[in-house]
Amino acid sequence: MEKVKILEIKQSVFASNDREADEVRRQLKEKGVFLLNLMSSPGSGKTTTLRRTIEALKDEMRIGVMEADIDSDVDAKAIAETGAKSIQLHTGGMCHLDADMTRQGLEGLGLEDVDLAILENVGNLVCPAEFDTGAVKNAMILSVPEGHDKPLKYPLMFTVCDVVLVNKIDVMPYFDFDMEKCKEYIRMRNPEAKVIPICARTGEGIDQWADWLRTQVAAWKNPDKQ
């Protein structure tokens, strides 16, 4: 038998990622760039919501978008049509982005001419919630057809989000979606989360969402004025 010794580590699996995420935030702060991590299921309307968000804010701040997908560049093309700077990140089969991939993405995007960077994470309600990307705030989109019980089924996602956009409210009459129950379930997981009902297709609720973002970006860039 080979003689062995044991080295104690006692460290969370996520500890190295958390350190890298803090470093990403430090660099963002230094350069005055606000990074939003946007998460959701596939098909909840992330890209459409992003296009509306860019339209609402592009005259007052410089926006850069990182589209993370396992493959393809259809989303980056859709965003490029809005005039915002965008790049496509491929995760190579991984179901989420971590802080190191985000750092590489930000390098690719270039932070010198960006005030608001948005990371469109991989469509998935499980894994992206576990890895801190280094974003300043986390947002998620829950669309009406997915059902109001999602906060119960994916508790961690709703725990890590600062804001939940409930999208596709125009189709509420056709689904058994209870907005009050949805808000109650979100509050059970995260009493601090802000809930904003929107319809990205018609633009309803986008003003309120843009206001929230505007306030957050200003607070990050100029904390003294708040």
């Binding site: 062995v4 044991i6 580590i9 699996v13 991984m94 179901c95």
Partner: protein, 130 residues
């Protein structure tokens, strides 16, 4: 699928600790994994075998997993019960005011490394030493 990302982070952390301690090769890594951590050991082992083979320090290292049972505390009646069997509803009083007290861990506990120099200086090799 997040098991692959988790394995990359385990390898990164272990390599860092290894470098700090002058370790060249690791025999085994022990993880504490909660029963409801959402990490599947089978997938984790598959990803481990694939990824560890690509690290000079970890090539051939075993991944040992110790499962931490999930327990939930009922805030209304004080009962501690197994989470997997009963979920969020207390089997004692039916209350939903419960919270998980253990079972969500994803902790790298320790690593086992060859004790090369000390083995040479202190021990007389026995006949079956490799």
């Amino acid at each position: 699928m997040h098991e692959l990302g988790i394995v990359f982070h385990i390898i990164r952390s272990v390599e860092e600790v290894g470098r700090q301690n002058g370790v060249k090769r690791v025999n085994a890594v022990t993880l504490e994994l909660g029963e409801v951590s959402g990490v599947l050991e089978d997938y984790l082992q598959d990803c481990w075998n694939w990824a560890a083979a690509r690290s000079d320090m970890l090539r051939g290292a075993r991944l040992q997993v110790e499962t931490i049972p999930a327990k939930t505390l009922c805030e209304d009646c004080g009962l501690v019960y197994p989470t997997v069997a009963h979920g969020r509803t207390c089997p004692g009083c039916g209350s939903g005011h419960t919270h998980l007290i253990q079972g969500n861990e994803t902790m790298i506990r320790d690593i086992t490394v060859p004790e090369e120099e000390e083995a040479e200086s202190k021990e007389t090799p026995s006949p079956d030493t490799l």
